[in-house]
């Protein structure tokens, strides 16, 4: 069955719908395309339309019906088509206890994540403070009037002419597959 996506095919298998007899559900894109293309005929001007549909009418033009025929939104038609298609699985329903259990687990997971986040933030803050106090110590306590500190704070040539090699690629959790690029040469300074 080529017209079914793998997910739908597995669903059909689960629900014991024989694949050969399966009503071939067209793909979303094709149905959308067809439905939307159906109204592609150019809209007629009001006068010609009135002449074609009704040669004579005693209704005044102000009181005429605002649109010809029922007003159908194609998007709603499509939503309904796919929502009530027999191959669409039923909505997920939980009993009350089961829903409460689910809620409990969800809340616990959210709580756990929030705690992790706040711990991470605290750790970053601690690191920042430690760095700052070290700099302050260098500035005040080194006994050279802060010369060393000023020297170390000069950012000339950092991130201006060249990137450091470790920022040459995206930072990843694990090393790259090919390991070290032994052929790498430092580019010539211009």
């Amino acid at each position: 069955m080529r017209s079914l996506s793998p997910a739908l095919a597995s669903l059909a298998n689960v629900f014991r719908i024989p694949m050969s007899l399966t009503p071939a559900r067209p793909t979303v894109s094709r149905v959308c395309h067809e439905t939307l293309a159906r109204r592609s005929s150019p809209p007629l001007g009001p006068i010609t339309a009135a002449m074609q549909s009704a040669p004579f009418s005693s209704t005044s033009s102000m009181a005429k019906r605002k649109s010809g025929g029922p007003n159908v939104d194609k998007r709603i038609t499509l939503i309904r088509y796919f929502l009530y298609h027999p191959l669409t699985p039923r909505p997920l329903r939980f009993s009350r206890n089961r829903y409460l259990r689910h809620w409990t687990i969800h809340r616990a997971w959210q709580l756990f994540q929030a705690k992790q986040r706040s711990a991470h933030e605290l750790e970053l803050e601690r690191q920042y403070q430690a760095m700052q106090s070290a700099c302050e110590e260098l500035r005040v306590g080194a006994g050279d009037g802060g010369r060393l500190f000023r020297k170390s704070m000069i950012k000339k040539g950092i991130f201006t002419d060249m990137f450091p090699i470790e920022y040459g690629r995206m930072q990843t959790e694990y090393p790259a597959g090919e390991g070290w690029n032994h052929d790498w040469k430092r580019p010539e300074r211009r």
Binding site: R96, L100, T104, A108, W109, L111
Partner: protein, 416 residues
Amino acid sequence: MAHCERASKPLLQCLRNTYTRGLPAIQLSARGFHSTAAVGEAQPDSQPFHKSPDPELVSSPRLERRLMRQGTTPVGSRRRRAALQGSANLPFEQLPYQCFQEARQVLLADRAEKLEEIEKMRQRIARVEALSPEEAGGKNSQKSRVHAMQQHLEHLKIHADINDPLVKRKFEDGQGDMSKPIYRFLADRKWREYRRKILVQRITQMNVVPDVLPHCEPTVDTKLYFNYRQVQPGDFVEAKNSISAPKLDVQLFERGEKLVTIAVVDSDVPNVEVDSFDYKTHYLAVNVPISAVNTKVDLSQLSAESQVVLPWLPPVAQKGSPYHRLSVFIMEQKDSQPLDYAAVKAKETDRDNTLLRTLQARYHLKAIGAHLFRTQWDETTLEVMKQIGFNEADVELRRKKVEPLPYKRRNPSSFR
């Protein structure tokens, strides 16, 4: 054997087998939670099941009928009862699902943490309050510090309980204890999600808020009942239903008791002489105590000696007049201090010429709740008018005919 027993038998057998095989310990310990024995077991010390059937578990029609003849109705559906006969009847928090139990451990640990923090916060507040203002750096800063800490404490109290599934279940069942902060918080949130929005929309769209009072920010949930029937905000009420004073259900979401003034004002009394509309106070009561647990206020039951200033006057709309908006305002008295009833009673005797704005300024009131209903001419209005002695009952109001503008030539020579 009833249908459902036969239907659920394979399922139950399957469940029983898995229970006994997989969870012998729980099955054993679960015996303690049984309020009654399973059907198959014989209780040695009491009568067999068919002699004294349990309304929670009975599933055969004959036993049910016997129970009903004795006056107790079986609980739930027969299918549910049949399914319960074979279950271990574990309480919710002991259901043997691993992830659920782990989640409960996490939540319980968090709750213990929060309780510790609450205790710490209380001690800190006590310490700051015990300081003299000079030590704490000024009276104002001490006050604001204590206030901020108390707010944090309230937050902590809510956060300690908000993750409890049993609290959630109790609140959803409507069995929440309003004296506890968590249930008050949940009720407030639920009210603000929908009902408060509706109320605010109605009182602003019908222009009650600038007409009767300049501002109103409702913080208490108000429900209005005429003849035991709830009236939605802005609904039309028949004249014969509003003969007797309504009942109010004023749900406060804060701790403590408040003294409030309740006023019902009609802002659409037609005044033909000046071609405009007047106000009329239909009800005024002061010093009404409300709290989070004491919510019911029956306007006809308030004491006439110490609370009701102007007793209930049934609202009527003359034939032909546009609908009358009757707004109910719950107004908090300053610092919950009682007003001097005798002075108020002596001063506010005129129903027609008292504006609610004046009252608000005179007695330092603050509107914390509002409700609105409307009344118009209907079949029962005439009777009510006769009952209360309304003197213009036989007058029908008509719109003045608008004189057409004088004829003007449409196409004068100046257009050319």
